[in-house]
């Protein structure tokens, strides 16, 4: 079936994102904190196959970029020497998971030239490398927080849906309260209570819990609605009437009804939570410089400067879209799995 191949491609895309994130040290041409002050806000390095004199080269190459004299952050290629693109190149030393150490990077060019596929940020750091390293935090936060939020949401929704009555009323008012409160304050308060210096893993944990804590209420209300209407379905009623236990009926008949919502919500919440990190790092709750996350990489986009002068800062967005689209595809293929084609 055509769906299946698409499903395979989507899963492969998602898997490759995770793989790249795990082995970021190898895939990223540079370290995430390496800042080249001679190349701040440098546009993406152009990769050539034809040199000055019109000769074609089998191996792509780049030129070195230098700042134009007297003009800040305007760069020019030095065409006198070519620097061929090399794979499995020896580069900066890294330690992988504190055990393996190595120097090989997937690709790169010999110094003094550098290759910035996504350009550099305002500190002269390679955007692509930061994007690759940033995937670690963002994928963990995005997926885990979405999972936690959906789990709590489903649990609470089920509680309301199955018990009904005052349990339902109290919990639903509680979710409304939850959604209405000025969370910004809570975040400020959390920041105030925490010590100024937090290690990256602690920050990650805080990020995760804050995002999940704030995010569970909406799914909970949605699940409740679906569960309520699922209980009205004939076969569910029938199952209870013939003596199915409450838990049994819920597990076998009601829960599957939430599948579609669960999938849709998952595909929506993951990107939302990844983006939400922008707000949190704005309040000082992110992982903090210089450790990258997609939130902090996308944050400069909220400034007109990036749009007007540094268009390449948009490239990370182009890179995350395939991932989010794959999430969407996987969930939507699972949804329409058993539906006969419509005319």
């Amino acid at each position: 079936m055509r769906h299946l191949s698409l499903l395979r491609i989507s899963v492969a895309v998602i898997a490759s994102f995770y793989l790249v994130a795990i082995a970021a040290e190898f895939f990223a041409p540079y370290g995430f904190a390496v800042s080249d002050r001679e190349h701040t806000n440098c546009p993406p390095t152009r990769i050539h196959v034809v040199d000055e004199s019109g000769h074609w080269h089998l191996r792509p190459f780049v030129y070195r970029y230098v700042e134009l004299p007297g003009e800040l952050e305007s760069y020019q290629e030095v065409r006198s020497q070519r620097y061929p693109l090399e794979f499995f190149i020896q580069g900066a030393k890294y330690k992988f998971a504190n055990i393996l150490s190595g120097r090989r990077h997937l690709f790169g060019v010999a110094s003094p030239a550098s290759i910035f596929i996504f350009g550099t940020d305002e500190y002269g750091r390679d955007q692509l490398s930061r994007f690759i390293y940033g995937a670690r935090i963002s994928l963990i936060v995005g997926t885990l927080a979405a999972a936690v939020a959906l789990f709590i949401g489903l649990g609470v929704g089920a509680l309301c849906g199955t018990f009904g009555g005052w349990v339902d009323v109290v919990i639903m008012r509680f979710t409304e309260l939850f959604m209405a409160l000025p969370w910004l304050y809570l975040l400020l308060a959390v920041r105030a209570i925490l010590p100024l210096r937090t290690s990256a893993s602690v920050s990650l944990l805080i990020l995760l819990s804050v995002v999940a804590l704030v995010g569970w209420a909406k799914p909970a209300r949605l699940f409740r609605g679906v569960i309520l209407s699922a209980q009205e379905l004939d076969f569910v009623v029938a199952a209870s009437v013939i003596g199915g236990g409450k838990w049994y009926v819920f597990r076998r008949h009601v829960l599957p009804q939430t599948g579609s919502l669960l999938l849709t919500q998952a595909a929506l919440l993951i990107p939302q939570f990844v983006i939400a990190e922008v707000t949190l790092s704005f309040l000082g709750l992110g992982v903090g410089e210089p450790i990258p996350s997609w939130g902090s990489i996308l944050a400069p986009l909220a400034r007109y400067e990036s749009l007007a002068l540094h268009w390449w800062l948009v490239l990370p967005v182009c890179a995350v879209v395939p991932l989010f689209f794959s999430y969407h595809e996987v969930t939507s293929i699972l949804q329409r799995d058993d539906i006969p084609p419509m005319m």
């Binding site: 105030a192 000082g284 903090g288």
Partner: protein, 601 residues
Amino acid sequence: MGVSARTVSPRHVCATLGVCAISFAIFQISAPRSSQAALTSHEELLQTDSPVGHPGGRLVFALRSEPKTLNPVLAADTISRDVLSSMHADLIHINRVSLKTEPALAKSWKVSADGKIITIKLREGLRFSDGQPFDADDVVFSFRVYQDEKIHSPQRDLLTINGKPIAVERVDTYTVRFTLPDTYAAGERIFDSVAMLPRHKLEKSLADGTLAKQWALNAAPSDIAGLGPFRFRSYVPGQQIALERNPFYWKQDKSGVRLPYLSELDFLFVANEDAQLLRFESGDTDVLSPMSASSYAILKNSANSSPNVCLNDLGASLEFNFLDFNLNDVSSKNLPDVQRKQTWFGDVRFRKAVSSAIDRDALVRLVYGGRATPLWEHVTPADKAWINTSLPRPARSLDQARKILKDAGYSWDGDGNLKDPKGTPVSFTIAVSVSSQPRSKIATLVQQDLGDLGMNVQVVPLEFRALLDRVFNTFDYDAAVLALTSGDADPTSEMNIWLSSGATHVWHLNEASPATPWEAEIDRLMNQQMTTVAYKKRKALYDRVQEIEQQNLPFISLVSPNVLFAAKKNLGNVQPAIIEPYALAGVDQTYFYEKGANSCQ
């Protein structure tokens, strides 16, 4: 010491009277609200010497937020003061370009030999924007309001010297005598921006204690009167404030036309800096000020697509950005971690090493795109009269920094991490306000610079209030990148920063007694300069303060952003200033060219 004022000669008055009469007739039609009839024949207008312009036109200006109030007695925020600066006038004004005092509502003034008595002669025959006359009674009333204990105006601090108020008395209808409790160096500078209030409007509310509630944003235009070039016309919440020309303004141009030229001055509320730029680019606003370095870069980049824009870089401002180490006494606050780190911060050699390791030129280049000035002490080059130019300005030197640290007993481990004499790794945080893009960037660059020295520094972005709370209340921080702006180019405006008991003595707030000998010395010097009148003597004292500052580095001065602004090319007589209200400083003389665009000034 007498100061001669640039008043209008009698002959000139006669020559311009005809013009006044004619223009008054026009105002009678255009401004029926002014109930007062004939002008007195005796009206001492101030004549400006800027180029003559055209009357009419509407200038639109964007503000970062709504002003909080239209009451000059209570206004403490920059935005309110910007708006109020064009609605009110002061007795003696600090010229925004030369930063020297010049006559305003005061025609002339005399300062007694000991500097304690200032006698001010007012311009005669002036009127408030509602047509009511202005005289010495209004001046006395205004100072009564500003010095009122119950109202507690922010201006009150400026008008209190050594805890004692300035005595104000009316000599005659147009003469007021101010008696200072002590010799005060800044002298007549204290009158700048102290708006003169209309007694006839506010006397009642002062009596019944409601003055603090008067002139809120929702006040009726007819309730407000001032002596500034414009008067209040309307306020649309969340959107704009519109001011209209004050027909009774007390300045005229060389040809005898009464100022201001503009018939309307509108303030739009545009909270977002990028949105301000977009509004300016689209032509909705006429002036963009204050402008960030990034906006400057964007406009410069699009100079071809928007040829009607004139970009200006006025050079260094009076703002200084600095790295502040927490040297507060935290023994009572249960902050063992901070206390431990203070053994590093408290050592002047540590601070010197930090200062030496910071690449200030990189800050200028990378944070401000070159539109800033590096600082090695807090006085910026903009303050030409007071900067100590003999101080050294060493370039970044990691070797120097390493040497200082080594001499102080610090060492490095195999991975290059810095360890203090006890063997503890040096690691601390730099807190910074997230709302300030440049300062966040400064903090990150400083972090990188100090990383080269083996220090493990973490930048912690905090919401502005949260940062202030830590710096001023809880003292729970290691270091912070902050900025302060001198309100005036005079050392007396910095008393709170330099006195060890000062409330803005950021590195060690409100010391009961000077914690170090050099702070005691600065206390002495600052107090002495405040009661000295002769400039040369004061300059010598203040030079010494700067020298001590550089030797002891209570904080590490980094950089001063330039004052940038953009204006449409068809604006004439824009006289921007490096202090408040920046581009609005000359708005009473600004005008639109009738046709075509003029070159930039």
